[in-house]
Symmetry: C2
Subunit: 338 residues, 2 copies
Amino acid sequence: MIFIDACFGRATSHTPVWFMRQAGRYLSEYRATRARAKDFLGLCKNPELACEVTLQPIDILDVDAAILFSDILVIPLEMGLGLGFYEGEGPRFAQTVRSESDLSHLQPQAFTRTNYVYETLAKTRAKLPQDKALIGFCGAPWTLATYMIEGESSKQFAHSKHMLYANPSTLKKLLAILCEELKNYLSMQASAGANALMIFDSWAGALAPAAYLEFGWQPICEIADFLRAKHPEIPLIVFPKGVGAFLEMLTGNFAVLGIDWGIPMAKARKLVGERFVLQGNLEPATLYDANAMEQGAHEILRAMNGQPFIFNLGHGMLPDLPRENAQKLVEIVHKGLA
Amino acid sequence: MIFIDACFGRATSHTPVWFMRQAGRYLSEYRATRARAKDFLGLCKNPELACEVTLQPIDILDVDAAILFSDILVIPLEMGLGLGFYEGEGPRFAQTVRSESDLSHLQPQAFTRTNYVYETLAKTRAKLPQDKALIGFCGAPWTLATYMIEGESSKQFAHSKHMLYANPSTLKKLLAILCEELKNYLSMQASAGANALMIFDSWAGALAPAAYLEFGWQPICEIADFLRAKHPEIPLIVFPKGVGAFLEMLTGNFAVLGIDWGIPMAKARKLVGERFVLQGNLEPATLYDANAMEQGAHEILRAMNGQPFIFNLGHGMLPDLPRENAQKLVEIVHKGLA
C-alpha cells in the first residue's frame, strides 16, 4: 500500500492523500446513510452503516486511505459518562470528572465494550481494495480528558486548567487511566484490521508549551512506545493541533507527524522533517475556491518535494465545501508537480 | 512613566506589569459597578462608570498601566450593525456583512460617534496618578471583520474564510474601511489622553500564515505607519494572538509586540526580541495556583532578564481567578529576580 510505504518513509510512485473528516456532511452519500441511523452515535455504533460511510471517500474521491468512521468520545462514553450529541451544540456528557472521587466512578476496560468499532474495521478492511489503507484512531488522553472534565466543548478549558495547575495529581491519574484504555483500544483496532493508527490531540494548542509537554505529549509517547513494540508493522500517526510554535520540542516513537495549517509546511519540514514523515497541511477553507486550493496544494508539494510525505488538510473537511474541489484536489496531488 | 519608558526600550527601575482584562469579573468592585449599568454596552458607553472600572486595577493591584474599559466591537456597533451582548452567548450583530452590497450599508465615520470612549479616556487620565500610563485600544481589522461577517463569535470562521478565499476583493474593501476608521479612532484616543495604544488581533490565529500576513497583518502595519507619523510620542502595542508558529515573519512600525502563552518567552525573545520590546506571556490559568503562578512568572522574568520588557498575561484574566493571586503577581514582578 502506497500509504503505508509513505508512512515508513519508503519511496512511492505518487504522493498519497486522504482528508481528515473525508467522510462527512459535504458528501450527499454521507447524509443519506446518516439519515438511516437514529442519530450520530447510532451511526458510529452500527458497523454496517459505519463501514458504508468509511468507504464512501474511497469510491468518490479515490483517496489512498480510508479512516474508520467513529468518534474520539466513544471511549469516555463507554467509561459510563453518558454522552449525547446535540444539534448545533456538539457533544455533552451527563457526568463530569472534576475530583479524585469522580475517578472511581469511571467504568474500567471501556475498550472491551467497543466491539462496534472493531467490527466496522473488520468489515471495511474486507471490502477495501488491497492497495488502499485503513486507518484506525483514537483521541489523545489530554483531549479526551478535557471533554470529561468540562462535560462539553470548551473555549477556555477553565475546569481542565484549574485541575492541571491546582490539582495536577488528579489529572495525572485520569490521564493514566485513559492511557491504559487507549493502548488496548488501538491495539484491538490493529488486530481488527487497521493498517495504520492515528492519535488526534485536537486540543493540544489549549495548553502552554511546558504544560503540554508534561500533560499532553508524555501520555501520547507512552502509547506510542507500547504500540511500536506490539505492532511494529503498523505505523502510528500523531496529530497535535495548534503546537506549531514549539514543534521542534516534539520527539517520540511514531512514524508520522500530522501538521495543522497554522505553520508553513516548509518550516515544519525544516524543524522536524528529518525525524518524522510529515502529513498535512492545506487550510480546508481554500477548498471554497478551486484556484486558492490548487495554489495552496502546489505550495505544499513544492515544500515537501523529494521527502516522503502524506498530503492531507491541516484540519477536518468543512461541511459546506464543494465535493468537486475535494475530488479535484486528489487529482492535483496524484498528478504531482509538473 | 515606567510603562512608557519600557515600551520605548528605555531602562526602568523595575519591570512594568499590567494584565489584559485586568478590569473584570474576578474583581468584586467591577461586579458592583457593572450592576449599576443597564448592561455591558451601557457600561462601555457611560464615561463615569467606565472610568471607575478602568481605575480599579490601579488601586487594587498596583499595576503600572490602566487600560480603557471598552470593547473592540464599539466600532462595528457605530457602523450601524446593531450589536447586542447576550448572557452566556457573547456578542451578536443584527446585520452581517457578507457581500459587496452589504458594504454600502455601513455608516461611515463611526469614530465620530464614540465620544463616550474619548470622554472615558479624558476622565481617567485626569484621575490617574502621574506615574501610571493609560492605554487606549481597538480591535484589528481582521478580527473586527470576522465578527461583522459571522455576526457572532465563531469557531470555524466559515463565512469569513469563504469571503477570503472565494471573494478576496470584498474582504479587502471591508478591511480598508475598517483601517480608515481605526486610524482615526486611535488617533482620537491619543488626543483624548491615552499614553499608549494597543491593537488586539484576537483571531489572528484563525488564519494560515500566508493568509494572515496579507489580510490580517498588512492592515495593522498600515495603521501603525499612520500612528507612528502622527503621534511619535505614543507607543503602539500589537497583540496578534495565536501566531507563535510564524512570529519571525512579523515586522512593522510599532514599539511593542504582545506575546500569547502559546510560545515560550525565551523562544519569542530569540525570534523577535531585538526588533520589538516584548510584552507577555504568563498563562492566565496558572493564577489558579499561587505556586504555579510564581514558577511561571519567574521563568518569564529569567527569559527576559536584561531586555526591556513588559510583564503581562498571555491572554485575558479569567473571571474566576483569585484576586489575591493577581495582587501577588504584581508584587512578584515588581520585586524581580533575586
